[in-house]
Symmetry: C2
Subunit: 108 residues, 2 copies
């Protein structure tokens, strides 16, 4: 049917998938990298840096905001974006839990 059956999986699995989805596009990786590096930036900075239009970047920012990874603060006519420390740390924790649960049992 083409409808992702999220409701058939548990909350932990869906949350992990959401965090991963935030990182699942090179443009969003680039946005996050810039935020990590600069601490803060406005949409216009990203438009100047990335090979995408303003509307597309705005859309990616919206998606990152929806997931919670970043937050934006209105600052006059512009919006200042930065990493949402709390959610960022949570994503880190959840993902590293997943990775570290590998016991290296080897293959068949």
């Amino acid at each position: 049917m083409g409808l992702t059956k999220s409701q058939e999986f548990n909350q932990s699995q869906n949350q992990l998938a959401e965090f991963a989805k935030a990182l699942a596009h090179p443009a969003r990786i680039a946005i996050i990298e810039q935020l990590l590096k600069c601490g803060t930036c406005i949409c216009g900075d990203l438009v100047a840096t990335l090979p995408l239009s303003q509307s597309t970047i705005s859309q990616h920012l919206k998606e990152l905001k929806r997931i919670g990874i970043i937050k934006g603060e209105v600052e006059g006519p512009r919006v200042c974006y930065c990493i949402n420390e709390k959610i960022w740390a949570e994503a880190q924790t959840r993902l590293s839990e997943l990775f570290s649960s590998f016991a290296g049992k080897g293959c068949c």
Copy 2:
């Protein structure tokens, strides 16, 4: 246009995005969790566990295999899947690099 402009981003960004994409669906999280827990399993095990059809699960396995996160070994009539340690470790390294590069500079 709808065409992801991967070629406009660097290899590191694309690779990170690919690793994240592997984890960006609850079904694939569930598959990976089962592999982490059991060490190894066949497609039929997953079909018994997950709320998805055999063909859909086979597709997710194919995607995970394409990215390299898992590998499959033919074992008689069945295929034995397991985590590809090397790639798994690389994904872990790359992702934790990203997360740990946060200096906590705070927002505007």
